[in-house]
């Protein structure tokens, strides 16, 4: 691993009295693909959102590409240009066509000219296999197509790091594959990626490392074979058994360390 592209140290995050992250330390190297897995409420999405400061950490530091994101004086808008983010709900701009979704941020944020922005947009749409949808509106696309456009929109900004927040969780099962294929392509090209996901096959085959979170802490961190194949901790085993074979789960008492809202 060369210099860490993402470094998180001593990260805490509370919503009111609800402590969602309880001290996270994590390093992600350049070109590394890290999948973050864990039960809902484990704080994995919150961790991801702290990396580009969509959530303000209560305590701790986050560095991306050597810049401290958590520094109050940092130009957060400039820092975010280097960090692409893909959301569970796609969040395409519904009032703009697919191409305009890609060109508007380039023009307004990066101040690229019309022709250059259009060229970059076309290239990135081709990369995700949606060149023919350039003039469509998001509402006319399937979920899988919308998510690929969202990825292309993030890529058009030329990010050094990509964050994925459960990118396939809102998709119909048969559409998941197209999105994962695009993410696999990015991984093969050497993009640094942090992916919150429930797709164990993707984690196993594409990730360099898998991080298992529960109750606001990192429980296990290692190679996919180790974390998914031979988990050391009981909590990991329990989570994986429920995920891989949900029909076998038994009714049980709610545990109190299920923290907070949303993944």
């Amino acid at each position: 691993m060369s210099r860490p592209e993402i470094r998180v140290s001593g990260l805490h995050k509370s919503f009111g009295s609800n402590e969602v992250l309880r001290g996270i330390d994590l390093e992600i190297g350049q070109g590394e693909v890290v999948c973050v897995i864990g039960p809902s409420g484990s704080g994995k999405s919150t961790l991801l959102r702290c990396v580009n400061l969509l959530e303000e950490p209560t305590e701790g530091q986050v560095f991306v590409g050597g810049t401290e994101i958590t520094d109050p004086d940092v130009d957060i808008d400039a820092a975010r240009r280097r960090i692409g983010m893909v959301f569970q709900q796609f969040n395409l701009f519904p009032h703009l066509t697919v191409t305009e979704n890609l060109t508007l941020p380039q023009r307004r944020v990066l101040r690229r000219g019309k022709a250059e922005a259009a060229k970059v947009a076309a290239e990135n749409l081709a990369r995700v296999g949606l060149a023919e949808k350039a003039d469509a509106y998001p509402s006319s696309l399937s979920g899988g197509q919308q998510q690929r456009v969202a990825i292309a929109r993030a890529l058009a900004m030329g990010p050094e790091v990509m964050l994925f927040d459960e990118p396939t969780s809102a998709l119909d099962p048969e559409l998941v594959g197209d999105v994962l294929a695009v993410m696999r392509m990015l991984a093969d090209e050497g993009m640094t990626m942090m992916v919150v996901t429930h797709e164990m096959t993707f984690a196993r085959e594409v990730a360099d490392r898998v991080v298992f979170m529960d109750g606001g802490v990192i429980v296990e961190d290692g190679s996919p074979d180790q974390v998914i194949g031979r988990p050391r901790h009981e909590r990991t085993r329990h989570f994986l058994s429920r995920l891989l074979d949900p029909a076998m789960a038994e009714v049980e008492e709610e545990t109190s360390d299920q923290v907070g809202k949303g993944g």
Binding site: R80, Q89, N91, F93, P94, L104, R108, V109, A150, M157
Partner: protein
């Protein structure tokens, strides 16, 4: 089991549900027809026609009622709407500001101007402003005063509409824009407000219809002959001709604009419904 069966069976006694429904509808039609007949018989149509529908008086109103009165009404409405929209946008953004005093100020403005009759605001602009700031002329004379008065009234309503529209845009839109590197202000202008306006286009058009009618309050500012709008023009002519036909014609002129506008609003609402699906 037998219990439910008996309940679902039509009762032997009295009317069935279907018969009751038919009877209810029959009564409603009967009341309607009776009311129309009573109205037609009771009203003195000859006198009404004499007073309100004199063709020669109506004829002599043209073309002035269109080229002068309707033109002024539209002009007052459009300029008032423009002022109201700009001011309303400002107040809506103040209302959503993270700076407390801006929020309070916007709230106070909205409460006051929503609570006051438009008539009082017109009188206030016509009397109090010249008193308070002697020597200063509101730009554009009467036209400026009308735009300001109508704008002040409309802004309070529009601010609330715009605020609701901005808040109706899903949170993910702002997050997506911010994560792409937009500053909060730029995200607001490029991403949020365009979407908010699509949501609030129907209520904003309704506001335009309301302003169109409120423009008749101009007469409380004191207008010259050339500045008269539909209501004032109709009333003036009604008193010179000692006949109310001009009032009817002026009224029809309002409907000439408001009915198509209402149609446009319904079209937009239907389209918005479709876009949501």
């Amino acid at each position: 089991m037998t219990d439910t069966e008996t309940r679902l069976q039509p009762k032997k006694k009295g009317l069935t549900r279907r018969q009751k429904r038919g009877l209810s509808r029959g009564i409603q039609y009967a009341v309607f027809v009776a009311a129309v007949i009573a109205f037609a018989v009771a009203a003195d149509w000859d006198r009404l026609q004499n007073q309100f529908a004199q063709a020669d008086i109506a004829r002599q109103m043209f073309p002035d009622v269109i080229t002068l009165a309707l033109k002024n009404t539209v002009l007052y409405t459009v300029t008032g709407f423009a002022v109201g929209l700009a001011l309303g946008m400002l107040i809506a953004l103040m209302r959503l500001s993270s700076v407390g005093p801006y929020r309070w100020l916007a709230g106070i403005y909205i409460e006051i101007f929503r609570g006051l009759p438009a008539l009082l605001i017109f009188i206030f602009i016509g009397v109090a402003v010249p008193l308070a700031f002697p020597g200063t002329e509101i730009i554009g004379g009467t036209y400026g005063k009308v735009a300001l008065a109508l704008g002040l009234v409309a802004a309070a309503y529009m601010a609330e509409t715009i605020r609701a529209g901005i808040q109706a845009v899903p949170k993910g839109q702002m997050e997506a824009a911010r994560s792409l590197g937009f500053s909060p202000a730029r995200a607001m202008v490029s991403v949020i407000i365009p979407q908010a306006f699509r949501i609030i286009l129907p209520p904003l058009t309704n506001e335009l219809v309301l302003l169109f009618k409120d423009s008749s309050l101009v007469l409380f500012l004191g207008v010259t002959l050339e500045e008269r709008e539909l209501s004032k023009y109709g009333r003036d002519l009604a008193s010179t001709t000692a006949n109310s036909t001009p009032i009817l014609v002026a009224g029809l002129c309002y409907l000439l604009i408001t009915i198509p506008l209402g149609f446009v609003v319904r079209r937009m609402e239907a389209k918005a419904q479709e876009a949501v699906k």
